[in-house]
Symmetry: C2
Subunit: 360 residues, 2 copies
């Protein structure tokens, strides 16, 4: 039985002022008319039913996440009391789905990527589930064929090819996981042709990942078990808050994947964009004849290569702009040179430092 | 008796979106904490009392103008039912002040310039009034010593020097008025040293300008007399609307000054800026160490030479900006390269063409 675990606890700062602490990237309709979280859920329709879907977010985003996905039962949402990276999140989800389905297979996925088309995504998950069914102790990851020497992604080195059925995507044993590399190393990876970007999407049996956690993160798993033991009782929130806070945050990659014996990687047959900033949004939405990407009411005069996003019916007029970014929200506006896009995160840090919490 | 006529009917488009049809430049606090209209009125304190001050604006700005100048009696405000340039405006004012003061001397001034200091301005008006007292038929204008070959101002060529008292500013007979020149001609004027910018400030006896209008614009004056005859009666608004609309709009320069025999020009001993755009605002307000001029809540990262104005407590963040202009208002935001500042007027034209009247 395939279960879906949607990780929706991120708090990105690259899309400020559109994204805020209370409304992070995954809750925004950055690439289309549906939010990234909604698109992540839409992508599972026909493959995983609502009752086998779990959305793990942060406690303060719980209401917003539920409101965006009214088709999922309320029990499908878990609000983490604090951030502890992906290993505790996935361990908790594995325990929860195992309660009623000891043979559960989990497809774990972020909620803030742009992926398509749906049929290829679902076919890839089915292929991963088949790889797990063939070798139950296997952990399956997804890799993206690199298109440029990215420094911002982890890489997966492909090892020996695994047998595959006609129509399947290429699948290999993982030779090694590689952390985010410097540019020269990334260029070598790209040239080698055997390194894929780690998409952060995983498929495995719940009992496999729990056994791995028992071996490598026993204290974490112990605390997660304490939480799940209290899950249906009156002290759930209290126990969740205390035990989860006591766990050391660690990613599933560091905690388990890099040490596991049998990890496979499927080269994603779907398109993938982690939407790392406004230029990625423009890439997804497309540009008009002047290279402008516009959301909202806009008048552009002598404006090219510019991204404009305006909320409500606020009018943004741009005059003589080239390769700029203008993001208007009701209480804050960002105007940036697109060449400085990476520095948008600095804005949030600076607002925190100034104590301008109203705009965070 | 010196009367002040403040012309406040302008509808500038250079400051959109801060300025709007219902809130033009003169009603904005562009250069300081008081609006330009308020500063114009402040500049008269001690020289012309409220009951001898007349503010001529457009009918739809009447309430706003009154609200900004609570120290003036309600009867000090005249709201023109339509735009007819300066000659009808000044003719009407001359008739109104003549009703109770046949010897009235009028100081006519725009409401949207930045002038200082007050004592030098008042001294210059007194000098002008003295020139008129010495030769009652004389029309006195003010000229500004050019600092660059401006194409956007009319020029006044100085003729023979007039006698002056110690402490007086240089005063000359006007040799000739010159329309806005092309750059090469403006450069010649600048080099010649005998051409001044026409500041649009005038001092003369009301009966002198009325006699001139009677000679050169008899139909205009006739209609103005009809309006003033109805001024204190029940049909004032109706007659004002009908007769004023029937007048041909013409500037006092074209209608009278260019043809008058005895016109003097005083070289302004005060500083003067017609505040022709946002860069002029920055010049008046001054810039910080990075060349930025900021009004409102702003966070700048790698930002230089940039003007930011934000309304209310809206936060504007600029990132990687150089010589840009960002003007935020509750319903519209302008982002422009300062090199394109002249084209701000195009925005208003384009909004009109699109029928986006809500933002005009």
């Amino acid at each position: 039985m395939l279960h879906a675990i949607i990780m929706a606890g991120g708090s990105g700062t690259r899309f400020w002022p559109a994204s805020r602490a209370a409304l992070p990237k995954q809750l925004l309709a950055l690439a289309g008319s549906r939010t990234l979280l909604q698109e992540t859920s839409d992508r599972l329709v026909g493959l995983v039913p609502p009752e086998r879907t779990l959305v793990v977010t942060s406690a303060r985003l719980l209401d917003a996440a539920r409101a965006q996905l009214p088709g999922l039962p309320a029990a499908s949402f878990v609000g983490e009391p604090c951030k502890r990276d992906t290993a505790p999140c996935i361990g908790l989800a594995a325990l929860l789905v195992s309660r009623h389905d000891p043979d559960a297979v989990m497809a774990v996925m972020p909620s803030d990527h742009v992926i398509g088309p749906i049929d290829r995504f679902q076919a890839a998950l089915r292929q991963a589930a088949a790889l797990v069914a063939a070798t139950p102790g296997r952990l399956v990851t997804f890799g993206i064929r690199p298109t440029y020497p990215a420094e911002s992604f982890g890489y997966i080195q492909q090892g020996v090819a695994l047998p595959r059925e006609p129509g399947d995507a290429p699948a290999h044993a993982v030779a090694r996981f590689k952390e985010k590399p410097p540019a020269t190393v990334a260029a070598e990876y790209l040239a080698a042709g055997t390194y894929l970007w780690n998409a952060g999407i995983f498929v495995w049996r719940a009992d496999t990942i729990l056994a791995a956690l028992a071996a490598r993160q026993p204290e974490c798993l112990e605390r997660l078990r304490t939480i799940v033991d209290a899950w249906d009782g009156p002290r759930r929130d209290e126990v969740f808050a205390a035990e989860f806070a006591a766990i050391r945050g660690i990613s599933i990659d560091y905690a388990i994947l890099e040490h596991a014996a049998d990890v496979a990687v499927i080269e994603a047959p779907f398109s993938w964009d982690d939407l790392g900033g406004w230029s990625a949004v423009a890439r997804q939405r497309g540009a008009d004849g002047r290279g402008n990407t516009i959301v909202g009411r806009h008048l552009g005069i002598d404006t090219t290569g510019t991204i404009v996003q305006a909320a409500d019916d606020h009018l943004v007029v741009t005059l003589g702009l080239e390769d700029m970014l203008v993001v208007h929200t009701p209480d804050a506006t960002l105007v940036a040179d697109r060449a400085h896009e990476e520095a948008v995160r600095k804005v949030v840090a600076e607002l925190e430092q100034r104590g301008w919490h109203d705009w965070l």
